[in-house]
């Protein structure tokens, strides 16, 4: 059994709300409440959930953009927070991020060559000539003509910009790419182009992915392992096939029922429970899903269920039966 490339253990992050006079804290956003997950080399872990579930916070914590309040991030077995300077730098280089908004994530004042070369500059990789070559190489890989490297982001379409962002992430030869909803801002016909590109890159370079999305269909297409998040907790974590074949947590089942199916006919009433995701500032007691859960029992209101079950883990007092 190979060791995981990245593991997260017990990540906590609560954002204080600064309200009122004198900056007194007026509550906290409970973004992450002790989550554990692992990503293996060359494999994709998808973090799935709706707004407020904490998946973006988790992605940022892995990328080092946010420091967790508690918990550990281990890259190749070494704690990123306490690692030596060199170890930390090589960990940062090995983990690159692609963001959701292709318009906002590229600096409009830099041309494409400069944008893609930036990680090489930051990590001191290669000299001028070597960098130019590398930039041309990754641009070609993502389907952008390297001769267009002198152009500026505003001259490209949304799909092309996202490719440039991917090229930028590939330039320093990372081992893990953290992709935060990379398809959501793209047109439908472009989404599959970019998705295919990501799959090809993964196969060619053996990259691992941490893929954040709300779209279960994309998860089924791209992920190897899936973790479903709700209000800062992981409620189910399983290999892809097992999750779709036998979802155990009622929220996973809700997500599956809510996912629109082309050609599936009109929506039938009652498939999705009423109510909305509660505010992460004031989460419910016990299991966060219990106010909306069709299978809630009295224990659900009182104690938070623990994520357990080995390979196919779920956190539920009254899980869905295995079909």
């Amino acid at each position: 059994m190979t060791a995981p490339l990245l593991s997260a253990e017990g990540l906590f992050k609560h954002f204080p709300l600064r309200g009122g006079l004198f900056g007194r804290r007026a509550g906290k956003v409970h973004a992450l409440n002790g989550i554990d997950f692992a990503i293996w080399p060359g494999r994709t872990l998808a973090l799935v959930g709706e707004s407020g579930c904490g998946k973006t916070t988790a992605a940022r914590a892995v990328a080092g953009l946010i420091r967790p309040d508690a918990g550990r991030l281990l890259f190749r077995g070494k704690d990123v927070a306490t690692a030596s300077g060199n170890d930390r730098k090589s960990a940062r280089r090995a983990m690159q991020m692609v963001f959701q908004d292709p318009y906002g994530s590229l600096n409009p004042r830099l041309n494409v060559n400069a944008i893609v070369a930036e990680p090489l500059v930051i990590h001191g990789i290669g000299d001028g000539a070597a960098r130019r070559d590398r930039v041309a190489e990754v641009l070609a890989q993502v389907g952008i003509d390297p001769r267009d490297g002198e152009r500026y982001p505003h001259e490209f379409s949304g799909g092309q910009r996202q490719r440039i962002a991917i090229a930028r992430a590939l330039a320093p030869e990372p081992e893990l790419i953290i992709a935060d909803e990379p398809l959501s801002a793209l047109d439908v016909s472009i989404q599959s182009q970019v998705l295919n590109l990501l799959k090809d890159i993964q196969a060619a370079r053996g990259l691992a992915f941490l893929f954040i999305t709300h779209d279960l269909a994309v998860v089924d297409y791209f992920a190897d392992e899936v973790a479903v998040m709700y209000l800062g907790h992981i409620v189910e974590r399983a290999p892809r096939a097992a999750l779709f074949a036998a979802p155990r947590h009622p929220y996973t089942r809700t997500l599956l029922a809510a996912a629109p199916r082309p050609g599936g006919g009109k929506r039938r009433p009652g498939a999705v429970p009423a109510g909305e995701v509660p505010s992460p500032i004031d989460p419910p007691t016990g299991c966060p899903f219990h106010p909306r859960c069709p299978r809630a029992v009295s224990a659900c209101r009182e104690t938070m269920p623990i994520l357990s079950g080995g390979d196919h883990a779920f956190a539920c007092h009254n899980p869905e039966p295995v079909p």
């Binding site: 009122g20 006079l21 500032i281």
Partner: protein, 325 residues
């Protein structure tokens, strides 16, 4: 909310205290002092007399000491005597203050009353001829130097067509009364109004154009709201938010514009008082009047913030309010 206001008032008091020292030091650093003026007007004063006089007035003590004495007296309510007017400062100021309030108050109200409709009309008919004319007038008003404008108005209405008085607040030998005072206000108010109405109109126009582009205006139209209702109910309330802020912040500019206007028209207001007291080295008067100007600016800012919170429900200064995720 109350705590917010109290906090702001506390901060303002601190600013005024700090400014009092800064102003005192600046005036003190100006070359010359009252004794030099006395020497200039009376050549028989000997250096020994000068030294003795300086000791009497305490002008030979270090700046910080003099400031602290002033501050101690000021806290007790004694702001000293005006050297030029030979009376306590607090006796002299109210009269001038009242005149300025009349001048600034009238022109402010007039400016806003003109700017809002003009800005709204210009925004509704963006790029039409009417819009271009309004814009031209605004730029003219903004670009014209105040003193030149004052002179032109004087030439036009007091010299060529002698229908309005050129200076002062009351006619010499006149019986006083409302009509006379009003006639003396016309030209100064007109000057100050023309000075500020241009920029206010431009603010209103820009804010309205921005608001009219918003999605919620389209929703209101989709509901079946007519053009008048869209502009005066849906749009204006939103447009006023930035406008109120900007207008309140420009209050300070209005104050200094009043200064030039008052000088041009020999209008006995705060502006003239400040100018004369600085040039005449009247420490006490200069200090108090400048501090007053500071206090007015701070008050305007506070009112602007409160108005902003009142107009925009997304802003709240109450303790414990944070944005919902």
């Amino acid at each position: 909310m109350i705590r917010y206001i109290l906090q702001r008032l506390g901060e303002s008091a601190a600013v005024i205290a700090l400014m009092s020292f800064v102003i005192y030091a600046l005036i003190g650093l100006m070359p010359g002092d009252p004794i030099d003026l006395m020497i200039n007007s009376d050549p028989r004063l000997t250096p020994a007399d000068a030294a003795r006089l300086r000791a009497v007035y305490g002008l030979d003590r270090p700046l910080v000491d003099r400031y602290l004495s002033w501050a101690a007296a000021a806290i007790g309510g004694d702001f000293g005597n005006s050297r030029l007017h030979v009376r306590p400062v607090l006796d002299v100021m109210p009269g001038f203050l009242l005149n300025t309030v009349k001048l600034m108050g009238l022109s402010f109200i007039l400016s806003v009353a003109i700017a809002i409709p003009a800005g709204v009309i210009a925004a509704r008919r963006q790029n039409s001829r009417l819009d271009h004319v309004i814009n031209l007038l605004c730029f003219a008003g903004i670009s014209v130097p105040v003193f030149w404008l004052a002179l032109m108005l004087i030439i036009l209405f007091s010299v060529m067509m002698p229908i309005l008085p050129a200076s002062g607040i009351a006619s010499v030998g006149g019986g006083g009364g409302i009509m006379d005072a009003a006639r003396h206000l016309v030209l100064p108010v007109a000057t100050l109004t023309i000075f500020s109405v241009g920029s206010y109109t431009r603010f209103v126009r820009a804010a309205m154009i921005e608001v009219l582009r918003q999605d919620y205006i389209r929703t209101a139209r989709a509901k079946g709201a007519g053009p008048s209702r869209i502009v005066w109910v849906h749009a204006l309330r939103n447009a006023m938010i930035p406008v109120v802020t900007v207008i309140a912040l420009s209050f300070g500019t209005l104050f200094s514009g009043a200064l030039i206007t008052e000088t041009m028209f020999a209008y006995p207001g705060m502006g003239k008082l400040i100018y004369d007291s600085i040039m005449g080295n009247d420490y006490n008067m200069a200090l108090v009047t400048l501090l007053f100007a500071t206090a007015v600016t701070l008050a305007a800012n506070l009112l602007a913030d409160l108005a902003y919170a009142w107009l925009d429900p997304r802003i709240s200064y109450a303790a414990g309010e944070g944005a919902r995720p």
